[in-house]
Amino acid sequence: MLDVIIIGAGPAGLSAAIECRKNDLNTLVVDEFPKLGGRLLGQLHQEPTGEWWNGIEEAKKLVDEAQRLNTDIRTGISVHHVAKVDDHFVVHTNDGKFEATNVLIATGAAETAVPVPGWTLPGVMSIGAAQVMTNVHRVKVGERGVIVGVNVLSAAIAHELKLGGVDIHSMVLPSKNVISADQAEPYAVMERLSRIAHLAPSAFIRFGSKFAKSPIVQKLAVKLYPKNGITMFDIPIHLRKAIVSINGTEQVESVTIAKVTPEGDIIPNSEEVVNVDFVCIAGGLYPLAELAAVMGCEFKYVEELGGHVPVHSEAMETAVDGLFVAGNITGIESAKVARSQGTVAGLSIAKRMTNDVSLDRQLDRAMQNVKTTRDNATIQFHPHIYRGRERVKAAYNRITETKE
């Protein structure tokens, strides 16, 4: 019987594993992907200090530390079910079953799909797919492409593609439909961009300073949005253009883009066809939480955190005894926050297993560190992250009080 199985070898899972091993717990880390580090691997951006955040190097630091502590880490393992049996868990994988006293789910996030006519053609992919191809596998996804969806993540990755030698024709909005919702509405997109501008890396600051904070000025900015877009990293960003279709027979050959009103409605006869060989769709991230759901964990829909999240405490415990969560499964935030949450989860698991009271102080410090990391985050995915976190905490307290 293992003390703990950690599902996901990203920043949260690895940092949790490090704490578990420091406390001598019998630990197994599993991940589907052949390389360790999760989505941290693809990250490459400049901090406001000018320093580069290189995900590959950051992942290596965590992996080296975990390996120094003799952590059993296995790749190529997919978990498809977890069952609670009496006082332990049975984790079902493509490589057999594993039994453990505790489970930490650190599965991260997935990208929201935004359907566009023609989006099944080879050459259309999620923005994260292009990021992994470019920075991790070092392969160009195409020569010249269009990015659909304007948000902080897509802007950062657009720049990464450029660094990889891939030409970006422009960034445009998805066309308005029941699924794309406010991603397709220029006013909403502008408002979100202006909220993050002050937090973002240097080029964003220049980009953001073009928008004022006042809603009236923002509305005016959308109305008078420049015909050629606003350029960031030499990439034209269009808030008044949306994609109508992706065209091609065997693969992407072109896209049809139309002008839109400030409300996001297509302006008739404004379509243009642009020749590109790839398209990236950026619909934003949501917590990848199915495994917590099959284990009977309670969920709460929290918009500020990116969707349905498993209800958990500040110490990263769920109301299911022995089940812990950390990282983006608990809400969409930066890799640094995920890493500090992993430390909290690891300490919580160690505390449950050893009853060592000296861990209390470490745990308090680690929880404080999550907040400090959050405060200092370069990119905040949502401005009201604290409000979201409070709502989850309150839900957890309600559940545990009812139980008692």
Binding site: E32, G76, A110, L121, V132, T134, H137, R138, Q251
Partner: protein, 126 residues
């Protein structure tokens, strides 16, 4: 041959020298780098179509590239529905693209076989 490999990167530096791995995709031999997935090795060679949709026959490639969407499923050494984006290439691996599958239950189907016998008569499974 198309080469989409990013050998020099302004921030990440030059690609370390890695040993190459050869494998076949639909009978044709390709070379990738050690640590490539099937999807990245093929994309480096300019191959983006990994399968045909089982019903419509429309071409498909990767979508999410992290194992979540299952759009990249291929047959590896005879085993079906393997995700190309998560599977590392190994020497002499035999990869095959997914093909249109018979749909015997579709009453409007005039092109696809309705029974396995029909399927074989029409040249399936050869």
């Amino acid at each position: 041959m198309t080469n989409k490999r990013i050998t020099h990167h302004p921030i990440l530096g030059s690609l370390d020298k890695q040993s190459t791995v050869s494998f076949t995709f639909d009978g044709k031999e390709y070379t990738g780098l050690e640590n490539d997935t099937i999807a990245s090795a093929l994309m480096a060679n300019g191959v983006r179509t990994l399968r045909k949709h089982e019903f419509s026959g429309n071409p498909r490639g990767i979508y999410c590239n992290i194992g979540h969407c299952f759009e990249c499923r291929v047959t590896v050494n005879g085993k079906e529905n393997i995700r190309a984006c998560l599977t590392p290439i190994v020497h002499d691996m035999v990869v095959e693209s997914g093909q249109v599958q018979p749909s015997p239950l579709d009453p409007t189907n005039e092109v696809l076989p309705k029974t396995y016998e029909d399927y074989e008569k029409m040249g399936g499974n050869q």
